[in-house]
Symmetry: C2
Subunit: 241 residues, 2 copies
DNA sequence: TTCATAAATGATCATTTTGTCAATTATGAT
DNA sequence: ATCATAATTGACAAAATGATCATTTATGAA
């Protein structure tokens, strides 16, 4: 065990202090690590963890082959780090985003739309999400836990009329993943498929709002109210320091 | 191109004729091919196509390594054959099963429940389904096409009140896959997780009926009717020759 | 039984991939 | 400037994998 792979990158530099607080060497190290993670995300989103070779990652990251093992013990290790970064960080970001929203229905609408918008903006991220979205880790921890908790809260508050919390949880999660998949597929649709999609009303604005509305209806809101909530302006994500 | 890999196994032996109609050699060949496919399904469902080596497949199938290439040109080839067998054959089976059902809502309820029941009965099949269920091939052809067609039919017949056929399609498909995932995860739940599941009403009968009911509600049926349709007895699958 | 054909088999080789390591380079304190 | 430490690097050996092929075995007709 040459290196226990620190659990989190955790840039501890206090935002208030001078920018020179972090030594150059440390930053260099952080950056190559970040480059490796980014390259791994891009490749693994497309071909899966097993489908990419380590030298592919280092070449895509423009980093010497040996450097890989300075940061990760193995392919499995970088994959783990990737899961943590992608899912937990995103969950935390969502938490901050809806911190001040009182209505559970709106919380869910915002989370759903934000997820879909990000998947649209960063297709690689979206691909990774749908590839790993059904894994036990995501379902049980992070995003899954959060969603299940919100649904139960909504039921307790009589905001949702669903009788079957687990099934609602499953339906909402599955719908989000499938919507991402649809968006990614349709985003690059060509030929005869494009015509069918146009007939189904797939346009430039994406599926975010429509998915949120459908999900709120699934949870028991009336169609009109679901539509209304799904159209409310999104809170802006604060530019992270 | 040493061998074009026959498009389908297609055991043409007429069930009525004597059992000796098929020469032993042909049957032997069919059987090793089937063994290879079964082993590949089991392994690829767990580790993905790229994650399994050919010798793993042949060893799991208890077949000589070289035999692999008597039946498939490459790993991609057996993967293709697997996709065909799993998705298209299942789609055809569903078609036969609902051939005589007039009500679109019941057609969908039956398909959903049959899919979930089979995934429960054959977890490996289910795992493969959720792993590949978002691939373009499944969405566009086979099961996806079928589902989209049924939804549009239901809307045209004013059986479904959905205003957004594409979103409904996405939601139904995603819900089915997520339900399979949940079933597989929960089927092997241990420890503290089990308590939470019990609280959510996860019992032995599985999620099939509940998923079907939720899906029919998503399509616009009233909860009570959705429940009723989702509980109707399933048509028995005819024992195939 | 004999024989031609089809299928199965594992040894073999080329290529890919992994993991290690000594050498090189960058960093930051003295 | 000097030096100890940390990080990066690519060459290398070992292991894994893909694919080929001559040989063996099974099959079924003559």
């Amino acid at each position: 065990m040459p290196k226990p792979t620190p659990k989190r990158a955790a840039a501890k530099a206090p935002a208030t202090a001078a920018a020179e607080r972090e030594p150059r060497g440390a930053r260099r190290k952080r950056e190559t690590r970040a480059r490796l993670l980014e390259a791994a995300l891009r490749l693994m989103a497309r071909k899966g963890m097993e489908g990419v070779a380590i030298n592919e990652i280092t070449e895509a990251a423009d980093v010497g082959f040996g450097s890989f093992y300075n940061h990760f013990e193995s392919k499995e290790a970088i994959y783990e780090a990737l899961m943590d970064q992608v899912f937990e960080d995103f969950g935390d970001a969502l938490d901050i985003l809806v911190r001040d929203i009182a209505d559970v229905a709106e919380v869910i609408a915002i989370c759903v739309r934000h997820t879909l918008l990000r998947a649209r903006r960063e297709p690689i991220w979206g691909q990774f999400l749908i590839r790993e979205g059904f894994s036990a880790r995501v379902l049980e921890r992070g995003l899954g836990q959060r969603l299940l908790r919100d649904i139960q809260k909504g039921i307790a508050a009589r905001r949702f009329t669903t009788k079957d919390p687990l099934m609602s949880f499953v339906a909402v999660g599955g719908t989000v993943l499938a919507a991402i998949s649809a968006e990614l597929q349709f985003g690059s649709a060509q030929g005869p498929q494009a015509a069918m999609l146009a007939a189904l009303g797939v346009s430039g604005e994406g599926l975010a709002g429509r998915a949120a509305a459908a999900i709120l209806q699934t949870l028991g809101l009336a169609p009109k109210e679901a539509e209304a909530i799904a159209r409310r302006p999104l809170p802006v994500v604060e530019a992270g320091g």
